[in-house]
Assembly symmetry: C2
């Protein structure tokens, strides 16, 4: 190949490079727009027990914590993270949890119900008479609560926020599960995981009956 | 632009197209190689109760099911799927499950142990004396079993296959959980989810003690 042929090749190669740059820029631009318009992916795992109890004043009151020496945690705990997911509900909270006796979680659910979030609760039938059960508090405030038919257990421990965020694991809504037991919860908005749970809740809601 | 200029543009545009085709082919080729070398992504959800009990002969024996009319299921069930994950273990099975009384699951774990798979089991301390508990069968065959310290519960319900596949949910290893209760299990090899559970198992194994 002589120098004339080589010099003729250079602009042609330049055009190939322009083509490559063009397609890459277009691809990156489209990816950016896709990322910008899609919600962030959530994949979180929470393990219990929490080492400390979170300071309610520090996290929930406008004034914050006024104690000179506070024994509670001012950094977030697993429990606070779980509460924040429930607080994030804008449209709906679908709860299928075997045992609900933790009044702090129930408080947050009731708050969301009061501002118009649709709340549906399914618990095991034993929660109709269990000590500390929050079922009657829910029902008193107009939240629909369903229970299953014995002898088998409604043993699920999952809830779904706004049909798009799933929290599921070994964790019942009890105080002992927060600070005592070894427990785990997977939290995700991956539709591949969330959608089967939405369908399961829908099915279970039809199969169960309003509690007493 | 006259016809001479236009005819001069055509080969240049052709080169840009060649550039685009080249980069796209390279990208697809690299993607193909990446997919070929990486393990398939597993994201599965199993719900219980199973509607039917799977036919053991049909699935496990070489001869298959010889009954003229078999009352058991010849299509896969949630329970069979769960067993197949345990059977797939080549290196290790790490089990942190509150209650283990289902002998069919224990059988499969013992089979894997016998062919050299490293099995470690953590259950709640109550499983040392619980009716139907499989802890003593495990220990008799040389599987290491740890239990926690009361009064709190080792309430986890997860197991990890070969440090890369996690099964986690509300499901204890009991027969009632298979055919009676409403239960759910998430199965995934997503490292983002699996790795925290591997770390949790390692921590818990150090914190717990060999059972009696």
């Amino acid at each position: 190949m002589n120098s004339v042929e080589i010099s003729g090749l250079i602009p042609k190669l330049g055009l190939v490079v322009v083509g490559i740059v063009l397609v890459e820029c277009t691809r990156q631009g489209l990816n950016y727009l896709q990322r910008k318009n899609s919600k962030p992916v959530i994949r979180q795992v929470i393990f219990f027990p929490d080492k400390q109890i979170a300071c309610k004043d520090f996290f929930d009151s406008v004034e914050g914590c006024s104690r000179i020496r506070c024994d509670f945690s001012h950094t977030t705990t697993g429990f606070r993270q779980l509460l924040s997911h429930i607080k994030s509900a804008r449209k709906s909270i679908d709860i299928a949890v075997y045992c609900i006796s933790c009044f702090e979680i129930a408080d947050v659910v009731l708050q969301r119900h009061k501002v118009g979030v649709r709340v549906r609760v399914i618990t095991d039938q034993s929660m109709e008479i269990a000590f500390g059960s929050q079922n009657h508090r829910f029902m008193k405030d107009g939240i629909r609560v369903h229970t299953n038919k014995p002898p088998f257990l409604m043993h699920h421990k999952f809830f779904i926020i706004d049909d798009e965020l799933l929290c599921s694991g070994s964790f019942n809504w009890t105080s002992q599960a927060v600070t005592g037991n070894n427990e785990s919860v997977i939290i995700t908005n991956d539709p591949w995981t969330v959608e089967p749970f939405c369908a399961e809740f829908k099915k279970l809601w039809q199969e169960t009956k309003p509690g007493n």
